[in-house]
């Protein structure tokens, strides 16, 4: 019962050149697999579509175009869920069968993985416009290099004739037994019109399979969309109004008539957009897989094994530190710098930020561990050292310190005294020292310098030597100021405390 487009009547090669007795035979375009081997059952020479169904015609137009443009081998077709779920039975191309509605998402990745191939997303109305509504819009909006063939038959065929997003007003389906009621079910979605609102698509058109004239127009649209994909012009969208005699409970001819009388008025035919000529080519990068090249990009050769010696006489053998203060006081970077320096010294280190709602405004803090042994928990619950940059931090963290630890606090911003008398207290005008250097932001490095002096773990000049790599890309002025900050913090402690 298929309506055969004219080009399907093909000459058998053996008859060419014999003008008078030229015979026309039917043969499948080479876009189709000769024997439908993926199709279960005995009937491997015919499709699973119902008589009079539009899918067979559209399949044929696609298969023909692929043959005519010599694209069969480089085409990849994405089969959806719906009646065309088995599109892969037929096309002699690469095939991926995918989840309901997701063909455009899958096709996006397939086209990026194989930028030189022709990727086709073949979808029905439930698949494309209902469950996969977002995916088609987003693929269109990204201008993915693919051809989308959208079969609109105003119904869910495969699942037995339920309402589709494109079901017409008043149309009876198995889930709209009283007819689609726009007050409860909404209106038929005009997908071409929707796709046409995006900037990226190059070709958007709606055609129909209702008669030969329209099939011919569909053929033109199919070929243009496929050519666009081949030439990497981007996103082409062809909506095809298509007969579903089984779902509509009509015969073939009535179905064709029904499209003409009911669907076309609601889904006007025509080209909504065609900027294929002007479209820029979609370019995709070539992945770098060569290991030497990969190492070069990561800068493997810039890394040098550290030669810094540990101070075996350090006051602290193991650091469990909390750094805490307002967001913007460089709390996180103080911790990261200390962990980095500790790593260069050959210690095991860990740094853990407080994260989540705490981060937004209020107090930020991080945990730092520096030790010889493997580190267990990275969250410091019992610090032997704290750096408190503001008052709430001092109040919060001095409580959880272990006896004998070192408590450093920023006396520029904290007016109260610590209450603990079983820890060593270092009252340091951290912000003030930074301000004197000319930039409050270097306060974190003042803290780092003071830390080095209190713990004896790090030599200030070793820290200074690491600054260019820690602040890679920063101007010399910034580097110099941070270097000075480390020295000033260090000196403040050694000048005012016996450590």
């Amino acid at each position: 019962m298929f309506l055969l487009p004219r080009r399907s009547l093909r000459r058998s090669p053996s008859f060419t050149g014999c003008n008078m007795e030229k015979k026309t035979v039917l043969r499948k375009p080479k876009g189709f697999i000769d024997v439908y081997k993926h199709k279960p059952g005995a009937e491997k020479d015919r499709t699973h579509y119902c008589p009079g169904c539009g899918h067979g015609i559209l399949h044929k137009l696609i298969a023909e175009a692929l043959e005519d443009f010599d694209l069969v081998e480089k085409t990849i077709i994405i089969s959806p869920v719906g009646c065309s779920v088995f599109a892969y039975y037929y096309f002699h191309t690469g095939n991926l069968q995918v989840a309901h509605g997701r063909a455009p998402a899958v096709a996006s990745a397939v086209s990026r993985a194989n930028p030189d191939s022709v990727v086709i997303s073949y979808q029905g109305d439930g698949d494309l416009a209902a469950i996969g509504g977002n995916n088609i819009n987003q693929a269109a909006n990204r201008g993915e290099n693919m051809a989308v063939f959208f079969v609109n038959n105003a119904i869910y065929g495969m699942t037995g004739g339920q309402m589709a997003p494109t079901t017409l007003e008043g149309q009876k389906t198995t889930t709209t037994p009283y007819g689609r009621n726009v007050k409860t079910d909404g209106y038929p979605i005009q997908v071409c019109e929707l796709i046409n609102t995006f900037t990226a698509p190059v070709y958007v058109t709606r055609t129909s399979l209702q008669d030969m004239a329209n099939i011919r127009k569909t053929r033109t649209a199919v070929r243009k969309a496929i050519m666009n994909a081949k030439e990497k012009k981007g996103f082409s969208f062809v909506e095809v109004l298509s007969m579903c005699p089984s779902g509509w409970k009509k015969d073939s001819l009535q179905s064709q008539q029904w499209i003409k009388e009911n669907m076309v008025p609601r889904f006007p035919l025509g080209v909504f957009r065609d900027v294929s000529e002007e479209a820029e080519t979609v370019e995709r990068p070539v992945p770098v897989m060569d290991t030497e090249e990969v190492k070069k990009i990561f800068g493997y050769s810039d890394f040098k094994a550290s030669t810094i010696q540990k101070n075996t006489e350090a006051n602290f053998k193991k650091i469990s530190l909390r750094v805490s203060g307002f967001g913007g006081q460089g709390i996180m970077s103080t911790g990261i710098v200390l962990a980095n320096v500790g790593m260069e010294y050959g210690y095991n280190v860990s740094w853990l930020p407080s994260y989540g709602p705490e981060m937004r405004g209020g107090t930020a803090n991080c945990s730092v561990k520096i030790q010889e042994d493997t580190i267990g928990a990275s969250e410091v619950t019992e610090p032997n050292m704290i750096i408190a940059m503001n008052q709430p931090s001092l109040e919060k963290f001095e409580k959880i310190m272990v006896p004998g630890g070192a408590l450093m606090y920023n006396s520029t911003l904290i007016d109260i005294e610590p209450t603990r008398n079983d820890v060593d207290i270092y009252k340091i005008p951290i912000t003030g020292i930074a301000d004197e250097l000319g930039d409050t932001r270097v306060q974190s490095m003042v803290g780092v310098g003071a830390f080095a002096a209190i713990t004896g773990l790090f030599d200030p000049e070793e820290i200074v030597s690491l600054i260019p790599s820690l602040f890679a890309g920063k101007p010399d002025k910034v580097l110099n100021m941070n270097e000075e900050a480390v020295r000033k913090g260090y000196d403040y402690v050694t000048e005012n405390y016996s450590v």
């Binding site: 191309t93 997701r102 993985a113 987003q138 190492k295």
Partner: protein
């Protein structure tokens, strides 16, 4: 070997690039967004694809597409995002597509919160989508392992043509540690007999439909065999102070880090505590755990940041010879070593 201080989330992306991952498809979600962010910064430097998908669902389906074309491909997410990906994961497993998913677990159910939890255990380890399938699940507990196990995940995913998870929690993702960057992978498996590459020879079919009941049963039996092989070959565990342990603690991810601290403190106090850490959650170290009662231990305490998901598997493995106790913290709270030791003393009188 370059050593860098980096967050676990970044280390996973470094590992992916070193493992030859060609594409990252993801959707932002705290606390996994840094994976997408660092991938967006790094992947283009290597001419590889980074695409922020329109949804978690789209992301996993893009992964399906890239994997079907033979690429090493990855996505990252957290609890609610993983729930959304389950259908796509089932398709990946059903179509035997290798891919890597990093799950940085957060608090649930529902929107929960963004604090660290381990409550995706069941949905990831048991194969949370429809149908008979499993994910390979690796559970790093350090930044170094985030890199190394991500690389291993790619290898195992390809070896078994199956999705492989890197499952950890917000603490491991957010934490910075030293990472020794390994050599990039130079040899990749040949996928020419199944991957679709847009060439004449690669006109294969990626598909999970088997209409015939016998065909589908056969396919499921094939998967079953594959999972049995994974169970047999790929179990990884770490044991710490287990030789003379009288009480064994079991945990993975950040709980195992706390347990290590607890073991150290216990040992300083003369308590013979040991740590058994599954590194692979599927395959689960069933045989290794089944042997624990033979050691004449006093007790087993499973510690997890979920309400008894891991402990179920521990108890199944113990086959009734012993039962593991459970200590759990939830909602973003991480257990402390002190709490755990208190529990140990309460349960076992030490």
């Amino acid at each position: 070997m370059p050593r860098m201080l980096m967050k676990g989330n970044y280390a996973a992306v470094y590992g992916a690039i070193l493992a030859g991952c060609e594409a990252y498809y993801g959707y932002p979600i705290t606390p996994a967004s840094e994976i997408a962010e660092s991938a967006s910064a790094l992947f283009p430097k290597f001419g590889r694809t980074f695409l922020q998908a329109e949804s978690e669902v789209a992301a996993i389906n893009m992964v399906y597409g890239a994997a079907g074309c033979g690429q090493r491909v990855m996505t990252g997410s957290s609890g609610p995002g993983i729930s959304l990906k389950q259908e796509g994961l089932s398709y990946c497993a059903g179509s035997a597509l290798p891919c890597v998913i990093v799950d940085i677990m957060r608090g649930g159910p529902g929107l929960g919160n963004i604090g660290p939890e381990q409550s995706d255990y069941n949905q990831v380890v048991k194969g949370g989508g429809h149908g008979n399938y499993r994910n390979i699940v690796l559970a790093p507990n350090s930044a170094q392992e985030m890199c190394d196990l991500t690389m291993l995940a790619f290898e195992l995913a390809d070896k078994y043509r199956n999705p492989a998870f890197v499952l950890t929690d917000g603490v491991i993702g957010q934490m910075m540690e030293a990472v020794d960057l390994p050599e990039p992978v130079s040899e990749f498996p040949d996928k020419s007999d199944w991957a679709v590459k847009g060439t004449a020879e690669s006109r294969h079919l990626i598909n999970s439909i088997y209409l015939d009941h016998d065909d589908l049963e056969r396919w499921n039996r094939h998967l079953e065999k594959k999972y049995a092989a994974i169970q047999k070959n790929e179990v990884l565990v770490e044991e710490y102070m287990m030789d003379d342990a009288e009480i064994v603690t079991i945990g993975y991810g950040s709980s195992s880090r706390v347990l290590r601290s607890a073991v150290d403190i216990a040992r300083e106090n003369g308590i013979k505590l040991g740590l058994f850490r599954p590194i692979t959650l599927f395959p689960f170290p069933v045989d290794e755990i089944a042997k624990l009662p033979e050691k004449g231990i006093k007790g087993i305490l499973t510690v997890e940041m979920s309400t008894g998901q891991l402990v179920d598997d521990v108890n199944l493995a113990l086959k009734g010879k012993m039962f593991s106790d459970l200590y759990s913290r939830l909602g973003g709270n991480v257990p402390s070593a002190a709490e755990i030791l208190e529990k140990v003393s309460e349960l076992y009188g030490v």
